[in-house]
């Protein structure tokens, strides 16, 4: 821990700020990339498919679907930012190379990137929540609690994405990560259907998918009821994210310092 604090400092903020300044120029395309998918599902499945379905867990399908999409968008934003985005900065633009010959440490560069990934999660979550408010699915009070979930989701998926990036030999590598991990998780963590009536195997697998916990929290925040199990879900998310964070710092250092 002491060692970790020695290599992390307020300079993380400068890395974050660098990304913010650059983001202003690319806001719209990157935004569409991370928002598009969940929004598409909301309209196509929530409204399209939902109109043919009865109530799920006592609510219209659109209302069931919305809280899950609200955290999925945060997952996608962090994932795209810390895979493709980070990889471009690292290999094409050589941003990391430039930063690490200043008093900055590799750990600070990585922590700044993860902090930025969390910020992107927040942005996407906020916009999605505004959309849900317009649909009349969410209440404005969700703006108070939801940022906690977006931060946790952003922390987890940014850290994991940085680890993937540290191993990536090329862009194709991310396609595997997205298709073999992120997309299946999107479908099997209770976003689209309740897990309680699924076969035991699916339930067990879902318990190993971090998004499942985020979806549970989000659903409780949007629809209620709020119970102690939410706290447990948060702890699971944050502890696993912290472990990934430390691993991400370590792996990226291995890639950059040779």
């Amino acid at each position: 821990m002491k060692k970790l604090l020695a290599v992390l400092s307020y300079r993380i903020y400068y890395v974050w700020k660098r990304n913010l300044v650059s983001y202003k120029r690319f806001a719209i395309p990157t935004f569409i990339a991370s928002m598009g998918e969940p929004l598409l599902y909301l309209v196509a499945m929530g409204i399209g498919l939902g109109s043919y379905m009865g109530l799920i867990n006592g609510m219209p399908y659109l209302n069931f679907l919305a809280p899950g999409l609200l955290v999925s968008t945060a997952m996608f934003a962090a994932t795209y930012e810390c895979t493709f985005g980070a990889y471009v900065r690292m290999t094409v633009e050589k941003v990391y190379n430039a930063l690490i010959v200043t008093p900055l440490t590799v750990e600070e560069v990585v922590a700044g990137e993860i902090l930025w990934g969390m910020t992107r999660s927040m942005f996407s979550g906020f916009i999605m929540l505004i959309v849900l408010l317009l649909f009349g699915i969410a209440h404005w009070s969700s703006f108070l609690l939801m940022p906690l979930v977006w931060m946790a989701v952003g922390f987890f998926f940014s850290s994991l994405a940085i680890i993937i990036t540290s191993f990536a030999p090329n862009f194709d590598f991310f396609t595997y990560y997205l298709e073999l991990f992120i997309t299946p998780m999107f479908f099997f963590s209770g976003v689209f259907f309740p897990l309680d009536r699924m076969p035991a195997v699916v339930k067990v697998i879902a318990r190993f998918l971090p998004l499942t916990y985020a979806v549970d929290i989000s659903r409780a925040f949007i629809r209620g009821p709020l119970g102690w199990n939410i706290l447990r879900d948060f702890v699971i998310l944050l502890v696993s994210a912290s472990i990934l964070f430390i691993w991400a710092l370590h792996q990226m250092k291995k890639r950059l310092i040779k």
Partner: protein, 306 residues
């Protein structure tokens, strides 16, 4: 380590996956000195300076900057360095000004001081009009000059430049040389990696010639030329055979080397050689002063190293 020593490299070895990039080199850099590290591609120049920048840990041996160990004091060492890397790493997502603002912040330079310094350095490298431009609109030479401006923001006591003029046109190259000389006059210590002999001759007080990770020779440019190849070179082409030419020159003092169609004669005084060769009308004879390039080629060989 004397008070004047800025950098001390001792028995530095660097291996990558078992391949030796630097094979145990030792040298010092004195305050205010410009040290040139010369060598063909793959000689270990970049690896050596990367260890000094604390972004590549030594396999064995030690590197100290102002008494601080590279392996222990990376933040404090890097705060003293101005680095112009071989590969352009100006941030293309930011403008010229934003790039410099970011770097000033990273070195903890207060905003107001930074603003003044940015303008001053942009003027120094003749890029003042470009402050708000995007990086994509700059030419290769402008990007290099911007790298120099960026490296100066923290007013470094040591500048490390890795092939700063590779790929530049003569105008841009001379401008950078001018600026480096100005820095040297201000007392900045400089390490310059290059494979341009003219650059080394123009700027460096002392040279290390590196090949395959080892130091082949070390010395002051003029003395290296004088000791290694002499003062003059006579290049002979269109000869009917090297032996015939050498027979004509029997008794004279010189070194010779044959490369392709050319016979090189290295000597201190070429007058006698020229007189004897003048008897043949078919020979093409060119006399010139010996340069660092002759030393370089003699020491590192004329074959391609890669």
């Amino acid at each position: 380590m004397s008070e004047k020593t800025m950098i001390e490299v001792k028995d530095l070895v660097k291996k990558f996956n078992g391949l030796t990039a630097v094979a145990g080199i030792s040298f010092n850099v004195q305050r205010g000195e410009c040290l040139g590290i010369l060598g063909p591609n793959g000689a270990g120049k970049t690896t050596t300076v990367r260890v000094i920048q604390c972004i590549s840990p030594a396999t064995s041996g030690t590197v100290s900057v102002l008494g601080m160990r590279a392996s222990l004091d990376e933040r404090r060492i890097r705060a003293l360095l101005g680095v112009v890397p071989q590969e352009n790493d100006i941030d293309p997502d930011l403008t010229v000004n934003e790039n410099l603002e970011l770097f000033a912040a990273l070195f903890d330079i207060p905003r107001k001081v930074a603003q003044a310094r940015i303008m001053e350095h942009l003027e120094f490298v003749e890029l003042k009009e470009r402050a708000d431009n995007k990086i994509g609109s700059l030419s290769g030479g402008m990007k290099r000059r911007l790298l120099v401006a960026r490296a100066l923001l923290n007013e470094p006591s040591i500048m490390i430049l890795d092939e700063p003029t590779t790929g530049l046109d003569p105008q841009a190259r001379h401008l950078i040389w001018q600026r480096l000389r100005a820095l040297k006059n201000k007392g900045v210590t400089i390490i310059l990696n290059t494979h341009y002999m003219e650059e080394a001759q123009q700027l460096c007080d002392r040279l290390l010639i590196l090949d395959k990770g080892s130091i082949l020779k070390e010395g002051i440019p003029q003395e290296l030329v004088k000791n290694e190849v002499g003062e003059e070179v006579v290049e002979v082409r269109n000869h009917e055979g090297v032996k015939d030419v050498l027979r004509k020159l029997q008794g004279l003092e010189f070194n010779s080397e044959v490369v392709g169609d050319t016979l090189y004669l290295y000597c201190h005084e070429s007058k006698d050689i020229l007189t004897r060769l003048a008897t043949s009308e078919t020979l093409s004879v060119l006399r010139r002063l010996a340069t660092l390039e002759d030393v370089f080629l003699k020491l590192t060989g004329r074959g391609l190293s890669e």
